[in-house]
Symmetry: C2
């Protein structure tokens, strides 16, 4: 999408300072993505009835940045845990995210035929199986965490279950979706409503990804709160950038129907703020996110670079 | 539905024996149902965005026998636990069950307009909100268990999360649904396939209800296994009786479109076995279920009577 994403990134504030740190984010993301892909593939073997497992796997293994799992792994490691401790939760986060995409694409919802350049789940398996595949992924996410996580105290795992449940339900993703649906076609959406939609539709699960990583590692409540704010900020920035991309990128690049928001008369940040102000706000959010990482020092390099990656992906 | 259900039941094998025990099941069920209704009502207060909470509550509080929560409470008490320990899980089981009904009724699935004499969720709130209400209930079920259960070791709660997840997902309810969908309109469904559908669509969640109650109380694995078999047997019997009722009861009594299975050319136990053999098989399953309760003695009175209630509701 951009030239920059293939280059390493300088993540200190002063890029001319002699102690600046070079962090190869592109390599880091590729490596982690590969690990996550392998774990996802193993997490859900095909059994009878094959059709439902195939439908679940079709969307779960359809690619994507795997940002949520990577954030979970990175945060767990940064706060003293291991990748192994976090991997089942990382996979569960992607299952939940995939469920939301599969249901979101249904004719009764956004009615999308393509996602990441592939036919959407219901176009391949039918609406009925797509609904069930989403339900199956959501239920399995919780089972997977409970059964597959090792070397983490049960009380911490229960906190992960609770955070994930909240992030997906009416207090999170589902709540954001409903307000989004109610807002469609309305020209008078307030900034407050738009914020609500995106802090719930996008930021809630990113926040859960980061905070669950920290919980698994046994991080302090103070650190969890810092990381929660980091995630909320990058979550909102992520959505602003998505809105910008919807306008500026072509269908070919995104692999989905671009300009769709405009056509659907959806309120977006650029429609409220204009393009330039949207970019400025996104940059400010990323800065605020990075400020929360200060106490973690160089350990925060991956999370720092990921924050920067979010803002850079359209420049 | 029947005269018998309003009378107390004699649950010893020899009904003329002097030490026979009179157990007022009707009263027991009414009492427990009232407790569950109160807990369900409290479990999900309406917040912004109201529409999704109202949609979730509409179906969650639409009545029904509350058999799953009652089984969970009864098993927890029978194996040494308390109602308080089991109530959040009991509510979660009903949330999950409600999710499956809401999604099942969708036009993309069974396309039902009425459920328990009321308009189905999507007829009131629209297909999009009904899908999201189901997702919200499913996610909230796990959150509710993790956050609201007290005085149960976290490791046991994690087992409950795992069992509930498995009972709902592709290895349970969702898997049964998919095979059910695939079997529709086919005239050559084998008994094996029909069994698969119902052990997954119905029995899996009843089994989870019972076994989770036992896990919460800290029951031994041997007792959990006994209770698992009890539940699988009553689950299958329950479905056979449902199939029989679909033929013999009128729409007025059931509050749903009766004879629908026949019209949809769905394979049912009566269509494979005939009515009389279906009744005989159901009775045999109930007997086998009750045999599993022997070691629990008089403590098993509620579970014993519930098993009998399932078979009696159409005689």
């Amino acid at each position: 999408m951009t030239q920059e994403k293939d280059k390493g990134m300088v993540i200190t504030d002063d890029r001319n300072s002699p102690d600046e740190v070079y962090f190869d984010l592109s390599n880091y993301l590729a490596e982690r993505k590969a690990l996550v892909e392998t774990a996802l593939d193993r997490s859900l073997p095909v059994k009878y009835p094959e059709r439902i497992y195939e439908a679940m796997r079709y969307s779960l293994l359809a690619g994507g940045k795997r940002l949520r799992p990577i954030l979970c792994l990175a945060t767990c490691e940064m706060t003293g845990g291991t990748q192994d401790m976090a991997m089942p939760t990382a996979c569960a986060l992607e299952m939940v995210h995939t469920m939301s995409l599969v249901h979101d694409d249904l004719p009764a919802m956004d009615n999308d035929d393509y996602r990441r350049g592939k036919l959407t789940n219901h176009k391949v398996y039918g609406d009925d199986v797509a609904i069930l595949a989403g339900d199956g992924l959501l239920a399995y996410a919780f089972e997977h965490i409970a059964v597959e996580t090792h070397n983490v105290p049960a009380s911490q795992l229960l906190q992960v279950v609770a955070r994930l449940g909240r992030a997906v339900g009416a207090a999170g993703l589902v709540g954001g979706q409903v307000v989004d649906l109610e807002s469609e076609g309305k020209s008078d959406i307030t900034l407050e409503t738009l914020h609500f939609i995106h802090t719930h539709k996008t930021a809630a699960l990113l926040e859960a990804s980061v905070v669950c990583g920290a919980i698994l590692a046994g991080a302090s409540l103070e650190d969890q709160d810092r990381l929660s704010r980091y995630a909320q900020n990058i979550g909102l920035a992520f959505q602003i950038v998505d809105d910008i991309l919807d306008i500026t990128e072509s269908q070919e690049v995104l692999g989905k129907t671009a300009g769709k928001d405009l056509k659907a008369q959806k309120a977006t940040y650029p429609s409220l703020w204009g393009l330039e102000e949207s970019k400025r706000q996104a940059a400010q959010l990323i800065e605020a996110a990075q400020a929360e990482l200060m106490p973690f020092g160089t350990l925060a390099r991956p999370l720092n670079a990921i924050a920067e990656f979010i803002i850079r992906r359209h420049y």
